[in-house]
């Protein structure tokens, strides 16, 4: 009886969180006039909404832009971020603790302080309307470094010393010994950076005006706000579904990692 009630409540929750998505996906296959009614299934299935999206905006190009930005940012954060994390966790040098405290300080400064000065700087560098402006400011990430450092600290120093005696340089130790032992932390850092980067809208809206360099969330947002969708509901929802698709797919494959990774940022915060 008690168990049944628990399942009932949990299922009600599942409906509340999943049903809107189900409704949205099915609505994109409805004729425009049907989107306003309550029925879940279309009376006639049509791809018209998607056709209009692909005809009006270069959404594939935006997807590729997003992909390039995310890939470069993640690669950079993992390579240089883990070098920093390794240096902070396993090497001893003058000023190390200062750098670590500085990093913690950067995480406490609300982003709106930096928003406008950073933007004006990007303008002066001539990086607006280019992927560089979306990539370079985010090639380092303090949260990722913190996560990696916390994992690296637990590695036994003996194996590192052994490698040093064999004449291994620190970079080689990082990639051939530390990395293979720290896959979970690397995955966590990668996922956190990926979600943040993939879903970022404000920064692209500031830096990119040229359609050729827009990211996917930015383009979908402007399609809805800027009138590209001409107030038609079907294409707006279809664009939203296309935007949700990549991350939902990655999420369903790696869901356990996603949940654990994101939770770890909060638990430490």
């Amino acid at each position: 009886m008690r168990k049944a009630l628990i399942y009932l409540a949990l299922s009600a929750g599942a409906v509340v969180f999943a049903y809107p998505f189900v409704w949205m996906v099915l609505a994109t296959f409805k004729p425009e006039a049907e989107i306003g009614n309550l029925s879940l299934l279309p009376s006639v299935w049509t791809l018209e909404s998607y056709r209009l999206v692909f005809e009006t905006i270069p959404i594939v190009r935006a997807f590729l832009n997003s992909l390039v930005v995310a890939a470069v940012v993640i690669a950079s954060v993992l390579v240089f971020g883990s070098a920093t994390a390794y240096s902070l966790a396993k090497l001893r040098w003058k000023g190390r603790d200062t750098v670590f405290n500085l990093m913690l300080f950067t995480m406490m400064v609300p982003f709106m302080v930096m928003l406008i000065p950073l933007y004006t700087m990007i303008v002066e560098f001539g990086w607006t309307d280019s992927l560089i402006g979306l990539i370079v400011p985010f090639m380092m990430n303090a949260t990722a470094v913190l996560i990696l450092r916390q994992s690296f600290v637990t590695l036994p120093t003996d194996i590192l010393d052994a490698a040093r005696i064999d004449g291994c340089g620190e970079w080689r130790i990082l990639f051939t010994i530390v990395w293979p032992l720290s896959i979970p932390a690397l995955v966590t850092a990668g996922i956190i950076v990926f979600i943040g980067n993939w879903n970022e809208v404000l920064w692209p809206l500031m830096v990119i005006r040229n359609e050729d360099w827009m990211t996917m969330p930015q383009m979908v947002a402007l399609f809805t706000v800027g009138g590209g969708a001409q107030a038609r509901l079907g294409p707006q929802l279809a664009a939203a579904v296309l935007l949700a698709l990549p991350i939902a797919a990655v999420y369903l494959v790696f869901q356990r990692h996603f949940i654990a990774s994101l939770a770890s940022t909060g638990v430490k915060g």
């Binding site: 599942a14 240089f80 750098v99 950067t106 406008i116 000065p117 970079w171 879903n199 404000l202 939770a263």
Partner: protein, 294 residues
């Protein structure tokens, strides 16, 4: 075993700094410089095209007479007053239900977490449909049951609460997981002691669970607050800050000042002030929540 006494030649005196160098360089260019420049910018008028003009404290003087600045703060307040309690109650409810051996536990977790990973743009477009006055799903449901339509996004009174509701729907899965971690960290022995002493289920919950969950509660309140001040996509996409500026958020106002009016100096001053307000609110909350429970 004690190899640490190798300290005649510490590993990394040189390579340590070298490996952290990319981070330090990046930090000084993309954090240090903008942070310092923020304190220059706030004393200037600048449209980013013509040269900067020093205007002393005029940006701040203006800020204290700016109705929209206070409006954005008040709107954020409305958002937080609804969002934080709602989020805590709903998240605790589901975390408590999930904190037991159950078949399908990971299924429910996965579903609850789905809105968290999906872009805010998707959620905004979706809820714009659900909240629509004439053709929206919610009002369709309400009228089909004989009720009258709710002016979700079209009335200045309802718009911000509607957005708070939507944000709660999007984020609550994240907080379910945080509370779940918190609940699982409470040692079972604590409950055993309480049970032996004759505490009822409710008493155990109030006297054991809640106090021990306090650190997590602080985290949730602080993260939600920062989230509330960072609100941008939803009002930008759905209401544009309206109706009658009732959903103008801090970040949206900074964005408008910078990009609709090219007031870079004033926008930077706004950013600085909103950040100060965040820090003050967070410090206050920490103090309140911590005192409240003990």
């Amino acid at each position: 075993m004690h190899k640490t006494k190798h300290s005649t030649r510490l590993p990394g005196e040189r390579s340590g700094l070298l490996m952290a160098a990319p981070y330090l360089i990046h930090l000084s260019i993309f954090f240090g410089y903008p942070l310092l420049f923020a304190f220059v910018l706030v004393f200037h008028r600048w449209d980013i095209v013509t040269p900067m003009e020093f205007i002393g404290l005029r940006n701040f003087a203006r800020l204290f007479q700016d109705d929209l600045f206070f409006r954005a703060l008040a709107n954020t307040g409305v958002f937080l007053v609804i969002h934080i309690p709602l989020q805590i109650i709903v998240a605790l409810f589901f975390a408590e239900l999930l904190n037991r051996k159950l078949r399908g536990r990971s299924f429910f977790r996965t579903v609850y977490f789905l809105p968290v990973v999906v872009s805010g743009v998707v959620v905004a477009i979706l809820f714009q449909r659900l909240f629509a006055f004439d053709t929206g799903y919610f009002n369709g449901l309400i009228t089909s049951m004989g009720g009258t339509r709710v002016p979700w996004l079209v009335s200045p009174k309802w718009a911000m609460p509607s957005i708070a509701l939507m944000a709660t729907w999007k984020n609550v899965g994240f907080y379910v997981i945080l509370f779940l971690v918190g609940l699982q960290n409470i040692p079972a022995s604590m409950y055993e002691v309480a049970t032996i002493e004759g505490a009822s289920t409710w008493q155990r919950w109030w006297r054991v669970t809640l106090p021990l969950l306090n650190p997590m509660l602080v985290t949730v309140v602080v993260l939600s607050t920062i989230g509330g001040f960072s609100l941008f996509v939803e009002p930008y996409l759905i209401t544009g800050g309206g109706p009658m500026n009732s959903t103008l958020s801090s970040v949206l106002y900074i964005y408008n000042q910078a990009f609709s009016f090219n007031h870079m100096g004033y926008a930077a001053a706004l950013g600085l002030f909103f950040a100060l307000v965040i820090l003050m609110v967070v410090l206050l909350q920490r103090r309140l929540v911590e005192e409240d429970i003990y």
